[in-house]
């Protein structure tokens, strides 16, 4: 479980996060949604320690991250898996080397053991015949799978995904969403996904946090989000013609 208390972060005169307080449950796919510029990426990067918050606390299973020294923070980071928006695979490494990278850095496994473990997660994310290819030689959807495989290879306790299905076709995006949800359940991890894709919300939104201009505007789950009276949420959800039509059909019924 990850708890966030009164988190504030600004850049210069601009305050991006304005005292966020929320929590993300273990074994659930927690979604952070909001319009572009609402502070989603800053929020996720602050939780990851890539940005130092101006104030507030982030607690990983009750342990306050900012109170820890470097080695203790590193110990927590070793338990974090991250899927970046652009996959962030290492260009000079093959798919297999990318996946084995966290094992090389943090375990004392032999190369054969690392390869075995890498192959287990490669099978888990359904990547076939790609072990020796470079990231530039595989498709965007496959790159996302490699990124997920790299994120879970070290058995993380927390999985962060920054817009994991951006740039993917709707079918592949759904496959990636479902894969993340399956992994969350299978390994019982705390998963936090940053997205503005309403399909993801409908597919896997077990807990949804809606951000508006750096404030927590609403939280709930995927069934509640379509029934809420919160105007900001409904404006966001029904901004696309598809969802407007769905709503019209629901009202007609």
């Amino acid at each position: 479980m990850i708890e966030v208390r009164e988190l504030r972060k600004g850049f210069g005169d601009v305050e991006v996060l304005k005292g966020l307080t929320t929590s993300f449950d273990k074994g659930k796919t927690n979604l952070i949604i909001g319009q572009s510029g609402s502070g989603k990426t800053v929020f996720i990067k602050s939780m990851l320690g890539l940005f130092r918050p101006d104030s507030g606390k982030i607690l990983y299973d009750g342990i306050c991250y900012s109170d820890l020294d470097f080695e203790e923070q590193r110990a927590i980071r070793e338990k974090i898996g991250m899927v970046f928006q652009g996959s962030a695979l290492f260009d000079s490494m093959t798919v297999e080397e990318n996946i084995m990278f966290p094992l090389q850095m943090f375990t004392k496994m032999k190369k054969t053991e690392m390869r075995e473990r890498a192959n287990v997660v490669i099978d888990r994310v359904n990547l076939e015949n790609a072990n020796h290819k470079l990231p530039s030689e595989i498709s965007g959807g496959m790159q996302k799978r490699v990124a997920i495989a790299r994120a879970i290879v070290n058995n993380p306790r927390y999985l962060f995904c920054d817009e994991p299905n951006s740039g993917l076709d709707p079918h592949t995006a759904t496959v990636i969403d479902n894969l993340i949800q399956e992994i969350t359940k299978e390994f019982n991890i705390t998963t936090i996904i940053n997205t503005h894709d309403m399909n993801s919300v409908m597919e896997i939104g077990e807990k949804i946090v809606f951000l508006k201009e750096g404030n927590l505007a609403w939280e709930g789950d995927k069934t509640q989000i379509f029934r809420t009276d919160n105007e900001e949420v409904t404006n966001f959800v029904y901004s696309s013609n598809l969802f407007k039509m769905v709503r019209k059909a629901q009202n007609a019924q």
């Binding site: 970046f84 290492f90 943090f106």
Partner: protein
């Protein structure tokens, strides 16, 4: 003020590079890879430039010796002094600021743009140690490149002078050995060693702290080349002043 801020940031980066080290086994592989990319990969161009510039130095010297009182041995002497004191350590380092420096800036800058550096940091890896330290160690071999450049520069001068008909082999070799001060070699390698550190760290600084996209990677490479060259020239002036005057 921006310059002062950047200089301070540069020294903090260097400090950070040497702490929280990466796992030894991984580091060893990275160092060998950097030696291959930065040192071995530069040998061809260094050899080519050194040989021909050495030749040009000899020809220029010969063509300017119009006074018959000046002995032809001067061609060997001038070639040696030019190549050892300035051409190999300084001129080649400026060329390397373009070749190696822009490679370092663009590779680290691309990693920044594509969030690969963020990926390292999320994993709890000291990204500066992982990315910059192996480059600093690899560049410790840079004086060997300069030694090869010195040899090939003088060889080029010999071939151009002797086979170009400007002097005889004996005259050239006599001039080459004339008034030789061994400390000049030490001076050349001392400054080469300092330049190698600048060549590894200044481009890394510009790549690591860049912001933006592909266009900014290009701009960072250009800025890095300018600042590395300026630093080499300024440091060269002060080292020369300290060690030779």
């Amino acid at each position: 003020m921006t310059y002062l801020h950047d200089i301070g940031k540069y020294f903090l980066m260097i400090k950070e590079t040497f702490v929280k080290p990466t796992k030894g086994k991984v580091l060893r592989v990275l160092i060998f890879k950097e030696i291959d990319d930065l040192i071995i990969g530069s040998l061809g161009i260094v050899a080519f430039i050194s040989f021909f510039v050495g030749g040009v130095v000899a020809i220029q010297t010969a063509l300017n010796l119009t006074n018959p009182i000046i002995p032809k041995e001067l061609i060997g002497f001038a070639s040696r002094q030019s190549v050892i004191l300035e051409f190999a350590p300084t001129f080649l380092s400026i060329i390397m600021a373009g070749k190696v420096g822009s490679f370092i800036t663009s590779s680290i800058g691309t990693m920044r743009v594509t969030e690969q550096i963020d990926a390292l940091e999320v994993m709890g890896i000291n990204s500066l140690n992982y990315l910059v330290f192996p480059k600093i160690v690899a560049m410790c071999f840079y004086p060997f490149v300069i030694a090869i450049a010195m040899f090939l520069g003088i060889l080029g001068a010999y071939i151009a002078a002797v086979y170009g008909g400007f002097t005889t082999a004996d005259q050239f070799l006599t001039g080459l050995k004339d008034d030789f001060i061994p400390f000049h070699i030490s001076y050349a390698f001392i400054k080469t060693f300092i330049f190698s550190f600048l060549l590894a760290t200044i481009p890394s600084f510009h790549g690591f702290y860049m912001r933006g996209g592909a266009l900014e990677v290009g701009k960072a490479s250009t800025t890095s080349f300018v600042w590395t060259s300026v630093s080499i020239i300024v440091v060269n002036y002060f080292i020369t002043q300290m060690l030779l005057s």
